[in-house]
Amino acid sequence: MLLISCPNCGSRDETEFHYGGQAHVPYPENPNDLNDREWAEYLFYRANTKGTFAERWVHSTGCRQWFNMLRDTVTYDIQAVYPMGTPRPASAAPAPESGTASLAPDSTTTGTAGPSVSATSSASTTAPKGATK
């Protein structure tokens, strides 16, 4: 069970929240200009980050407000909670490795190097955690 710190209500159980997927995926400026592939990429393509990931959450059984969160997808460490509409904060210093050493070598295969997620924010293109070592 994660203990998530809602900006309005304070620390609450994870079960009070719902997940909203990757944060900072802007709606395309001119959706009509996109071809089918670009539109599909906007709709369905998301980063599959191993490491610090910016994502949206809603406190659904509390204040029903959305917020953004920086969470490490490996350690579940919540590094930052920040309001919708604000840029992603600078990633916290790399968390000390705690028993995840075996995961590090292959973690460079993650991140947003995959299909050009052109419409998505560059915010999620920070180096995956393993690459910072």
């Binding site: 309005n8 009070e16 509390g62 204040c63």
Partner: protein, 211 residues
């Protein structure tokens, strides 16, 4: 066949109205342990859902009708008869006795609607949306703690505060009305479940304590 005489006039309708946990009234009476923990339903309160920016002019008008708007999570505002619960930064639940409803001679909904006027926001009659459980007694907190992960200790949850949370895995507004008394506002469709859940949680206190 419905008794047509009972349907004439609002008071006739009132007689045939059933509250969401009315079928549990007997069980709640039987399951209550006087002096330890008791449960009952307080049906048919008048409730209005209000969405308004509390810092705006219309927010101030609504606040003057409702007796204030709580500023943050946990706070409760209102008057002797009206309770205003914080649901979100711009969302509030106004709770008042049944007779405050416009159809029973009151003017709560109408005056809130008038206070909002054409300004952005909304006032919705939610009187049928939730029911009210009264849980009280020295073991009331122990009952709630079986299904609520908030810190309910009096040092952090004081009388006169209310929190939006989960009890028994369902969303409720939990209002602490006194040192040993709580009011729970579940949605009507959860009333049966929550009533039975609370009764089950209370049951152990009917037996003598095992030393």
């Amino acid at each position: 066949m419905a008794n047509t005489a009972a349907l004439t006039g609002i008071n006739g309708l009132r007689d045939i109205r059933r509250s969401p946990a009315s079928h549990l009234a007997g069980a709640m009476e039987a399951g209550s342990i006087e002096g330890t923990v008791t449960l009952s339903e307080g049906p048919f309160q008048t409730m209005a859902g209000v969405r308004v920016d509390p810092r705006s002019e219309e927010g101030a008008r609504i606040a003057s009708v409702a007796g204030g708007l709580p500023a943050r999570c946990g706070e409760v505002a209102g008057t002797d008869r009206v309770t205003v619960l914080w649901l979100g930064p711009q969302e509030f639940l106004v709770v008042a006795p049944e007779e405050a409803h416009d159809s029973l001679g009151g003017d709560l909904i109408g005056s809130l609607t008038a206070a909002l006027g054409d300004a952005p926001g909304q006032v919705v009659d939610l009187s049928a949306n939730r029911t009210t459980f009264e849980l009280s007694g020295p073991r009331a907190r122990a009952v709630l703690e079986k299904g609520c992960s908030l810190d309910l200790h009096p040092r952090s949850f004081t009388p006169g505060t209310a929190l939006n949370t989960e009890v028994g895995n369902i969303p409720v507004v939990l209002l602490k009305t006194g040192d040993d008394s709580f009011r729970l506002f579940p949605r009507a469709s959860f009333a049966d479940y929550l009533g039975r859940w609370l009764l089950d949680a209370m049951r152990e206190f009917a037996s003598p304590e095992v030393p």
